[in-house]
């Protein structure tokens, strides 16, 4: 069972990195929208695992994306931050249920799942583009990038969640 868990997450890690750098980083939809779907790793990662390990893995995940896309360590910082705040977001979205041992992401409502994903994306993209643009004088550009790339990530994220959760049932 534990082996299975490692294998599943390891494989997910690899596939998400490859999908991100080989497909989604090249989309350039409307000239600038490159959805960051690798953030789904944070969505899917099991809840009851050790937090510190989770944060380290997410930092490495971000760094892997950074190396491929020449973005210094922006993805790493954004990703580790979201990993750190994930329990807070989950408590906010799922309420007290989240504390129970029997809590499962698949048992929650669709709206809750989407809300959870939206918060992850919003936080991640805000940090990423803040670091990338590195000045508040381009506030409009910053907002444009966050909103449109965020929407792209959200749509593709929901599609992928629907696609890959169907086989588990």
């Amino acid at each position: 069972m534990t082996n299975n868990l490692y294998l599943q997450n390891g494989l997910r890690f690899l596939l998400l990195v490859l999908a991100q750098v080989l497909i989604f980083n090249r989309l350039n939809f409307l000239g600038f929208i490159n959805p960051m779907v690798y953030i789904l790793f944070l969505y899917w990662y099991p809840i009851k695992q050790r937090r510190s390990v989770f944060i380290i893995i997410c930092f490495i995940l971000g760094l892997a994306i950074d190396v491929f896309s020449d973005t210094l360590a922006f993805h790493a910082v954004a990703c580790a931050t979201m990993a750190f705040f994930r329990p807070t977001i989950m408590r906010f979205v799922f309420g007290v249920n989240y504390e129970f041992q029997s809590f499962k992401l698949s048992n929650t409502t669709r709206a809750q799942q989407i809300a959870f994903l939206t918060f992850l994306i919003l936080g991640h993209h805000t940090i990423f583009f803040l670091l990338e643009i590195f000045s508040l004088s381009h506030l409009l550009l910053l907002l444009k990038k966050i909103v449109f790339t965020g929407l792209g990530t959200l749509v593709l994220g929901i599609l992928m969640i629907t696609l890959f959760s169907a086989e588990k049932e």
């Binding site: 080989l22 000239g31 510190s52 020449d70 360590a73 750190f84």
Partner: protein, 285 residues
Amino acid sequence: MSGRDGSIQQEKRMQQIINFILRNKTTLLYLFLLTLGMAMSIKSHSYHQSRFLNSANWLSGSIYKTQSDITGYFGLREENDRLVEENTRLKKLLYNSADLTVAGAATDSFPYQVIPARIIKNSYALRNNYITLNKGTTNGVKQDMGVVTSMGVLGIVEYTTDRFSAVQSLLNTRSNINAKIKNTNNFGSLTWNTDRYDVVQLEDIPRIVPLNIGDTIVTGAMSSIFPENIPIGTIQRIDLENSDSFYEIDVALFNDMTNLKNVYIISNRNSEEIRLLEEKINDDQ
């Protein structure tokens, strides 16, 4: 007696510190990673990027190369047409030059040497864009060599590994290339304001210079990286307030930065000598 008390107290304090660390270990870990990430990002905002955090390393280089090998077949015809067109133009130049023997001349002695390369990763949606090429130090590529396509200037090599190199694209806020108006000697520097991926900015052209929309911008003679007169683009918009002493010029690039495949890396035999000379001047001052 008091000594033992002191040591017990010290032990207690240690215990408290350890407890504090254990209790907040996740937060501390996160703060540590945050600092690490920020350090990597901010330190590298200076001229040269840190060594491993670029896509020219063997792992990402190999993966991008594999992808490029596979997808390279699409658009081959288009790329062929472009190369034939360029060949035609070069042949025309050659046949109309006074001395036809240049065709057979030994090109190795020329100051500028050209290394052909292929783009395996391109980006243009970020603020600091880098392009990865499939040639590295084993092919003679070095830092600060110029990169051009058949249409015009593309960027400058910033990092090399054995088999790959990372090029700082024109579409990079740190890019700064010497450029001038064609057929004049009025030069300025070419920068990018990140707004559009097909438009760059030319700065420091004084207002006394007569300019027209549509004028061609080429590389200047002030750089040891590019040969003079390599095309860059045409003037798209000229902005000159009454109080300004310099123009603000938008330049539409000849290159379609979104659709590039084959490039040429230009090495200048004399660049090392020029660099040493310039360093000497700086030292003397």
